[in-house]
Assembly symmetry: C2
Homo-oligomer: 334 residues x 2
């Protein structure tokens, strides 16, 4: 009976084994059939945000989370930084033959918990199984839809000369936690992934102001790549102050040990916002009152001096040009 | 420069290589950024159908299609058989390091062509790259949303005693085409996958009647598994006539050679519909006028005789109980 502890090719067949998997594992966690069929859902507005992300993180379990909550939070956050209220997610699993059912159960439970925390529903799903050696444990795709209130517009085109750049929390925790786990390193204090849903933080920000021009979550490629994208897309210059960047000491130490630059390390629980200069302090104060915004701060400003460029004013008083991530520093970080 | 013909880990980094991939490959085909960000879309109704499917078909290229058009058509069809008008799709790619960029280009072109044929837009995307040996070429997830007109309801709960069961086309072509390609077999005449979008066929059916109780596309697990699901979910008995089943001669021959039962072989371009008995002929006539419904026919009826069962009236005059697919006959068929 050992085979019944593991995923078999038949679990992806569409037949009896797949139905049993759905009934025993997915339905109890997600509260619906979770099968390959369409869900019918009602959205409160006809203007919606729509996104998708696949998750291939390695290892599947890491300090602070696993691929399951990462897959839910990541897509919730994509919608949140689009200014939308996340409502519904789908979940598509690609599972390697032989994958332990006990691990699948843990991953599904984490997804359900993250969905509950974010207040969203996983309404449709799909499971495929590939032969042993043709995947790496499990890959998860989540797509998500959220409703967009009239008047809300998040675009680099909205950014104006003089705007303030805000970061909602500490840099580098997710990427360093993954890399440490991958290499069997432990730190004291431990470094945990910051993976978490940001929709309620964004809600608090909108309560404080309607002058949010732009938001993005600095995941793959880190803060540096995100800011460079924003600079290019807006045609403006972004200046950030190194001394303002909230890099926690353990992350600093680990990055120095591992030869990483925290500016390029992936984050999963923070966002960058560009807001009008007159509301920056108000927004940051509102963020400080939220559990996920306690370390929020203004890290820089926007100007017209060097269109498309990101400049880091260093602690030493110099200025460093920040480019996008080149090549790959940390593959399979999400 | 040989490396530039192939996918590198850096193509999934979020950095420069990924931006170049999006700009050179995805944007020209899909007409948008296709990046990991949310798309903002307008839907004509607040009642929408929402679905997801991952595609892991092996081989990636087969007679009649490839993983790209399959991923678009499959999700369009999931929405279509929910009674919805498919509008927007997302596409998530998981690519194995070293995958030829020329193959990726072909796959993307097929997706764009299928999207055009179906009249839908691919509005958001994501690309992840995993190390060589940790995936099998490329896996694609598509999710889709469609608008549902008020009054349209597709549910096994709608099915009534006396209803007619219709199939829209020939059985078995997709599964046999894949298996033949996998095993290096060729048939004369060649057997091609039936992968195609069914949304315009469904539109023609709704023009003919509003008495469509239920539809489903018999993909994994084939017609047998689909009908058994419907019998169980409706609590009614489905009786089909073997002599009415449109199994093309080449598929019959190939199934007999390969030891397959065409009732359990996956299809990607047909649907099963349950309609009121008074409109069955009208619907079938309307389907015959559509390119994708030329082989449509009534294959059986619904009654209360044996709740939850599917009975096949055989050519020999007997009656055979049809169950769901057990185990796995054809892994990675879609």
């Amino acid at each position: 009976m050992a085979a019944m502890d593991k995923i078999l090719l038949g679990h992806g067949s569409g037949g009896k084994l797949m139905h049993a998997l759905i009934e025993e594992y997915f339905s109890p966690a997600f509260g619906n059939k979770g099968a390959g069929d369409s869900a019918v859902v009602d959205v409160p507005s006809t203007r919606i945000a729509y996104t998708t992300d696949s998750y291939v993180v390695s290892p599947l379990f890491f300090p602070g989370g696993n691929i399951g909550d990462l897959a839910v939070c990541g897509t919730v956050n994509d919608l949140s930084v689009a200014g939308a209220e996340p409502l519904f997610l789908t979940a598509g699993f690609i599972i390697e033959e032989g994958f332990p059912l006990s691990d699948l159960k843990k991953i599904i439970a984490s997804m359900a918990a993250a969905a509950k925390q974010a207040g969203i529903a996983i309404v449709a799903g799909d499971t495929k199984v590939v032969n042993k050696g043709k995947a790496d444990g499990v890959f998860i795709n989540t797509s998500g839809i959220g409703s967009l209130k009239g008047g809300i517009s998040i675009s680099p085109a909205n950014i104006l000369d003089g705007d303030s750049v805000i970061i909602s929390g500490e840099l580098g925790n997710h990427g360093v936690a993954i890399l440490a786990e991958r290499n069997g390193l432990t730190f004291d204090p431990p470094i945990k992934s910051d993976s978490r849903p940001l929709n309620s933080l964004v809600k608090a920000m909108y309560k404080a102001t309607d002058k949010i021009r732009f938001m993005r979550d600095p995941t793959r490629g880190g803060l540096a790549t995100t800011l460079k994208e924003v600079a290019l897309e807006s045609g403006l210059c972004i200046r950030i102050r190194e001394l303002s960047l909230p890099v926690p000491l353990p992350v600093k130490g680990a990055c120095s040990l591992l030869g990483l630059d925290p500016l390029y390390v992936a984050n999963e629980g923070i966002l960058v916002a560009v807001v009008g200069p007159d509301v920056a302090d108000t927004v940051v104060s509102a963020m400080h009152k939220h559990d996920h915004g306690k370390a929020a701060s203004v890290i820089g400003t926007v100007d017209r001096s060097a269109p498309g460029m990101v400049l880091l004013e260093t602690a030493a008083g110099g200025s460093r040009i920040i480019d996008m991530l080149q090549g790959e520093m940390l593959p399979r970080i999400c």
